[in-house]
Symmetry: C2
Subunit: 260 residues, 2 copies
């Protein structure tokens, strides 16, 4: 089954100094995964042209989809579009559609188009702007070589609103599959005891992600969260795969699990 490969590039010094937690990365990773993409890498870098250019160039060689967040705003340290233009050897041009969005946003509020505001309408040549219903800065979709680059704002409310619009525009790249996540909580067995059983159970589905996640204390009161992410051509198929793994695990625990 063909599944597109994705990189997420989150941009902003506030992430590198640990002022904010990168909830955007998790949100985008989940959305891409549920549409059938495989997220290979999440990279966080600062608002530095050089770092963004080199990361985008590396991602262009590896990924079918690149989603960036941050650096689209009016301030001087918002450098993402300039960097994407440089990485793809395209000029940054005034995009008439983006200009219209920004012009409408500010004129409705009786505010002038200052140079800082106008900056947000310059996109790499060939881009399609993604409308922003929450804030001012439009996003951007660019098809370069065989990769789709989606640039979204860093403000979570804006990004979350715009991501589905952008992904819908490239929906033909995603496989027609159903993705299901099923889980179970296993109490009273340390992770180190569960490990070999989980390994055996996960062999029942070779294209599932099976993951154990300790929640309680390893020995005093071990609680292991087991999650199976399964893919299928139909939801029935995906669910059946996940159930097979969980049923096998349950059987193995019954046979050996509580002995050590």
């Amino acid at each position: 089954m063909y599944r597109p490969r994705a990189w997420i590039v989150t941009i902003g010094y506030e992430l590198l100094i640990g002022r904010i937690v990168n909830t955007n990365a998790a949100h985008i990773a989940k959305e891409l995964t549920l549409r059938g993409a495989i997220v290979d890498r999440i990279v966080t870098i600062g608002d530095s042209i050089d770092d963004i250019v080199s990361t985008i160039r590396e991602a262009l060689q590896r990924a079918d989809i690149i989603v960036t967040t941050g650096g689209l705003g009016p301030t001087d340290d918002d450098k993402t579009l300039e960097a994407i233009a440089a990485a793809t050897n395209r000029p940054l041009v005034l995009n008439s559609e983006a200009l219209e969005m920004i012009n409408k946003f500010y004129s409705q509020r009786g505010l002038p188009l200052t140079p800082e505001r106008l900056k947000m309408a310059y996109l790499p040549a060939g881009s399609t702007p993604i409308p922003n219903k929450v804030g001012a800065a439009p996003g951007m979709l660019l098809h370069h070589d065989t990769t789709f680059i989606i640039a979204l704002p860093g403000v979570p409310r804006e990004m979350e609103e715009m991501l589905p619009l952008a992904l819908d525009k490239i929906r033909f790249i995603f496989p027609k599959i159903c993705v299901i996540e099923k889980g179970t909580e296993i109490k009273g067995i340390p992770e180190s005891t569960l490990a070999p059983l989980l390994r055996r159970a996960s062999k029942k589905c070779l294209d599932c992600y099976v993951k154990s996640h300790p929640k309680g204390h390893e020995l005093r009161e071990p609680i292991i969260d087991v999650k199976v992410l399964a893919f299928g051509n139909t939801c029935e198929e995906a669910e059946k795969k996940a159930n097979t793994v969980l049923a096998e695990l349950s059987k193995l625990i019954g046979e050996h699990g509580r002995s050590q």
Copy 2:
């Protein structure tokens, strides 16, 4: 002022599929920043030997400190130490100190050293184990060429407990500086209006990070969180730098800010 450069490498498919938010990265980034390091990059990859090896090799060329999280546990998909050994061309050897920690952990609980548990005592040759008071898996500190590699578990409670122990072991690498973050909340001015004022104010301190972060709605009820991160040889110096920027910003807002 010399400041060591750091990379954070967070490992685990659960991050790439968006099941969990990467709070570890923010926590480590903040701790490193407050000790005076510059975090250049945060990379999230899956539990794949190839991806971990290539990321560690790249980081070794760029960073003085590499902190990894995840992949130290007893399960088959915990591959971090094997990958660090490969990336540094070192054998994975049974570390007697780590063995003692693990042996003590399980024997106190009357549990045998299964192969899965013993696996956690194999560290790249030349490593020092970092004790884990919360869980079973020891962390690892390795000085390779000119870089310190610190490998910590992915469970936040374990990582948070162990990080200071590891950073204290390399405290000589950090500058003797004081880092201060000061902020202010500016209400009623859109970010696009604030941008040029912020740019002018931040010129008052060239080695500060000045960042604006919109919290309210861009125009209806704009609230901009402005943060200044300042470094000094003393805390007084750092505070003075941050205050200079904030005072200049306040002055500029008084002069021009509310006009457009």
